[in-house]
């Protein structure tokens, strides 16, 4: 630990409290920084300001009721949270989702990835002093949220992905809206790159800042763009495909410089890859006919029409919403690639209608663990750049 010699010869460092209300901590993160002049010599993150006990609450709800709670963890990726939880429960039950629902899920989750990266890019840029990028990013994100509102009736807390399929049939004309967005978006991404990629201030604030070696990143369980910026092409969509991702063609961008600039480049490239996936999903969705929910009596709610004509459907509907359903005893762990990294859901059943244990492997929480490694020895102004490029969402960190 380096120290400063004062006039009296005594070593002197200063402890600075950053957060929990600091705007660049992206929520309520508090970091205790021990400073030697402007250099950080020790950083201790302090979490829990947003802990809401979602895992405990899930244990007291039926399997379907818990979906609404998952929206509220990573509030920039609610559809991804729905997806990982529903995939876990579906695996526990051993049910398969119709292809059409799988493609719609992929399309929406990829749009969500773009919207999440847009919020990240906007807030990260504003932290480093680029005000206008923030406004542009939020303008495009608004378009995505409008699509979500059109499809699911909600802008953010959609709860649209349900166990066995989707909540409701998307309205007619929704693909045209996505098409409109797809036409507009590539040039907008070019605009952000024009503003930032070759910008000397931007490069000065991000290049060579917050380096972590690939070995350390894996040892600290980091995943997502941070790990891919270190040169490891680990992406759940490729390595352990779910929801028919194996049918889509896309690249996993990687870089080797592993600094804040590399992570920025990775996320921008990922937005373009997501557009490619959305484009492919758009062509796949109309090619498959069929319902958006699987046929699983007693697990998936029956269609409204059937309830009016068939007694069994009415009984199942009543039973699903009063007592729920009971999966076989066992545990499953399902992972998906969220915009922040590997998002996992561990669901344990004891054969009762309520889960024995629901645990979420939140990428923000685990990536944040590496923050001291990134910032120790750097300047205090780089702390902000480093917090930004890890891309944490405090709702996801604290759950």
């Amino acid at each position: 630990m380096s120290t400063v010699e004062t006039a009296t010869g005594a070593a002197k460092t200063m402890v600075l409290n950053m957060g929990p209300q600091h705007p660049s901590t992206h929520g309520v993160l508090r970091i205790l920084l021990e400073l030697d002049g402007e250099t950080v010599i020790k950083a201790v993150p302090d979490l829990g300001y947003l802990h809401t006990g979602i895992e405990k609450s899930c244990e007291d709800k039926t399997y379907s009721q818990a979906i609404t709670l998952t929206d509220r963890m990573d509030y920039l990726n609610p559809l991804g949270n729905n997806l990982v939880y529903c995939l876990a429960v579906e695996k526990l039950l051993g049910i398969e989702v119709p292809k059409r629902a799988q493609y719609i899920r992929v399309l929406l989750v990829e749009l969500q990835r773009i919207s999440s990266h847009l919020v990240w890019l906007g807030t990260h840029a504003i932290d480093l002093g680029a005000m206008s990028v923030f406004l542009y990013c939020f303008r495009e994100r608004e378009e995505i949220l409008k699509i979500f509102e059109f499809v699911a009736g909600q802008r953010m807390m959609t709860s649209y992905i349900r166990i066995g399929g989707l909540a409701l049939e998307p309205p007619t004309g929704w693909l045209q809206r996505v098409e409109k967005f797809l036409k507009m978006m590539p040039s907008r991404i070019d605009d952000y790159e024009t503003l930032l990629t070759g910008n000397r201030i931007w490069m000065g604030r991000t290049q060579g800042i917050g380096y972590i070696s690939a070995k350390d990143a894996v040892a600290l369980s980091m995943t997502g763009p941070t790990l891919r910026a270190a040169g490891i092409p680990y992406d759940n969509r490729k390595v352990f495909p779910y929801s028919s991702y194996e049918e889509f063609e896309f690249d996993v961008p990687t870089r080797t410089d592993s600094d804040c600039f590399a992570r920025y480049m990775i996320r921008v490239a990922e937005m373009r890859e997501s557009l490619k996936i959305v484009r492919q999903a758009m062509s796949k969705i109309p090619s498959v006919e069929g319902p958006i929910r699987t046929e699983a009596p007693g697990i998936v709610p029956p269609e409204r029409e059937k309830m009016k004509t068939e007694m069994e459907a009415l009984i199942y509907h009543f039973k699903i919403f009063t007592e729920g359903f009971s999966p076989p005893p066992g545990e499953v762990f399902v992972t998906v690639e969220s915009p922040r990294g590997e998002l996992g859901a561990f669901v344990a059943s004891d054969g009762s209608p309520k889960p024995l244990r629901v645990h979420f492997r939140s990428p923000s929480y685990i990536n944040l663990q590496a923050l001291p490694k990134l910032i120790e020895g750097q300047l205090i102004s780089d702390v902000i750049a480093c917090i930004g490029t890890i891309d944490i969402v405090l709702g996801d960190v604290d759950r």
Partner: protein, 174 residues
């Protein structure tokens, strides 16, 4: 509790058995997921083997979590989810812990990333990790009483039900 098959064709299981037959106490196959139940005292050695062995290479500890099966015994189940990035494989290691002595070796020497995962489990489940360098609460305030994810902790908390709160305070050193 789960569909159990003692004879598994899984190469990972056979590899670990060949290394130390005692390390594999039970193999559970459920929904294409392999769980190896490891005796508590062999956990760290087995984990290190899973990471270092050239045929296994489980280099990423993606998650660690705990299940409380109260009132059954052994009460706690620690689940470690390993991923091998070079081999694209997954594995779950499980250790069963009794309610009277819920402690297990920390895996920080094997995967430094276990640090916060174990702190979270300590905070919410009250499992002690021996040799953990910084075993403090992480999500809850330092002066919080009890471990909320335990099954004998009510979902509503203790704030509005003083009768149970006093009972709990008496037994909190369980």
């Amino acid at each position: 509790m789960t569909e159990s098959t003692s004879q598994s064709a899984n190469v990972v299981v056979e590899h670990l058995r060949a290394w130390n037959p005692k390390a594999v106490a039970e193999v559970i196959q459920f929904r294409d997921e392999t769980t190896i139940v490891v005796p508590r005292e062999l956990l760290r050695a087995t984990a290190a083997r899973c990471r270092e062995d050239a045929a296994l290479q489980f280099n990423l500890l993606t998650d660690a979590t705990c299940v409380d099966r109260y009132p059954l015994e052994p009460r706690f189940e620690m689940n470690y989810h390993l991923v091998s990035i070079p081999r694209s494989d997954k594995l779950r290691l499980r250790v069963r812990l009794s309610g009277s002595d819920p402690s297990v070796d920390s895996l920080i020497p094997v995967w430094p990333g276990a640090n916060w995962l174990e702190r979270e489990i300590f905070d919410l489940m009250g499992i002690r990790f021996t040799d953990h360098p910084d075993l403090r609460r992480i999500l809850l305030p330092d002066d919080w009483e009890g471990h909320p994810l335990r099954k004998d902790y009510p979902v509503e908390g203790y704030r509005d039900i003083p009768a149970i709160a006093t009972k709990y305070t008496r037994n909190r050193n369980l």
